[in-house]
């Protein structure tokens, strides 16, 4: 069961106010050049089918409730991957009054994939790591703590309190 969970991550892609850059890169990771389907990745249309929630965008005020609802609609065991710098730190939109970010204020995030936008291979690596975390958590093995925004230091930005 653990192995099957690791080998079959189905994604649901949620845009929480992204500029569409990261969204394009998610789709690019399914194209012939990167071919994430070799890992069993499938982009699903419904959050009910998904194992991993991929969130892009800095979580705008309008999107907060949608993000929480969709997170609740994903059936467990589940994992969340924050794709791009926006959900991790709100990126260049920091201190904007239309934002409620970063994402980890609202739902527990397992893997951060930094970049603006991140490369498709980084996204695939993040999804594979999240699938491992999800499988270990479901099997009650010790899992790494949710990543404490260490990636942020490399971009030189501070997280708004």
């Amino acid at each position: 069961m653990c192995y099957c969970r690791r080998r079959s991550p189905w994604l649901f892609h949620m845009n929480s106010g992204s500029c569409n850059g990261c969204d394009i890169e998610i789709v690019a990771s399914l194209t012939p050049r990167y071919d994430a389907e070799q890992l069993g990745v499938r982009l699903e249309g419904s959050p009910r089918h998904a194992d991993i929630l991929c969130v892009t965008g800095p979580v705008t005020r309008n999107a907060v409730n949608a993000v929480k609802t969709v997170y609740d609609q994903v059936c467990g065991p589940k994992a969340v991957v924050a794709i791009g710098s926006c959900p991790a730190t709100t990126n260049v939109f920091i201190d904007s009054r239309t934002l409620e970010g970063p994402l980890s204020k609202h739902i527990p995030v397992d893997v951060f994939v930094p970049g603006c936008p991140p490369r498709p291979d980084a996204i695939i690596a993040g999804v594979a790591k999240a699938a491992g975390i999800l499988a270990d958590r479901a099997a009650n093995k010790p899992t790494p703590e949710p990543a404490p925004l260490t990636v942020v230091e490399t971009t030189g930005q501070e997280v708004r309190a």
Binding site: M1, Y3, C4, R5, R7, S8, W10, T31, P32, D35, E37, Q38, G40, L43, E44, G45, S46, R48, H49, D51, Q73, C75, G76, P77, A138
Partner: protein
Amino acid sequence: MNLTIALARLLVFPGLLFAIPFAWFFLWVERKAVALMQGRIGPPFMQPFYDFIKLLGKGNPPRTGLAGALMKIWPLLAVSSAAGAVALLPVLPHYGGFQGDLIFLLALLEVPSFCIIAAGFSSRSIFGEIGSAREAVLSVSYNIVFLLAIVSIAASQHTFRLDALAALPASPLRWLGVAAVLICLPAKLHLNPFSLPNAEQEIYAGPMTEYAGPELAMWELAHGLEWVAATGLVATLAAPQITLWWLAAIVFVGLSIGIVLLLSVLASATARLAIDSTVRFYWQCTLIFAVLAISSALFMRFRS
């Protein structure tokens, strides 16, 4: 056919024990063929198995009341009827069919489609309802052609028994009928030019939108079994007469895989049609051929 043989055929061969690995294999062949057509490597061989086991281990959304109970029943009904349809296929010679088993097979093949329509409406999701409405319209369109083609085959060969049909030499009319059935298969299996009901991303997941976990696993399994039953039916009608049973079995399996490859290549080479184009295609373009086939079958029957 006594009860023991019937149970053995339903549960062992060509029923569940044989058909479930074959269903996964066909699902893999489909995904792999689409990936190769797109210049990708595609999923590993065991992928449908991994997906199935993973879905069995996932949680279900809470379901209450009558609608919840109905939503739990539909996938089970779809799986059992698709497995029954597979069990009726005359893979082995002298298996002991019965008069009219072709009609029973067609009825069982139709049940998963009804289950999908009912599941979408009982989920109360707007996307599920749109998908179900599309499935209903599609079903009305292709089934006329599909049934007329099968009836023309049966009428031209004077029998409704599957094993008798498989044993009789093929007439030119039969090939016309097989071609008409092949045209209907992409719609029956929700493949790409006619993948309207489950239109991925466009209407989320169509009738499956609210399904998760083990129930979704059952839907995937029903879909795989539908593949086995539908391609098996065409292979039965198209297979040449071979007396050696093992050679006949190899030809049967080879033909089934060939049909799966053909449909997958068609699916990856085409884009999804809109509902009005699909309906027009079946009612205007293919219905003529089906009517021609059945009228010539009846005409030949009265002459002989």
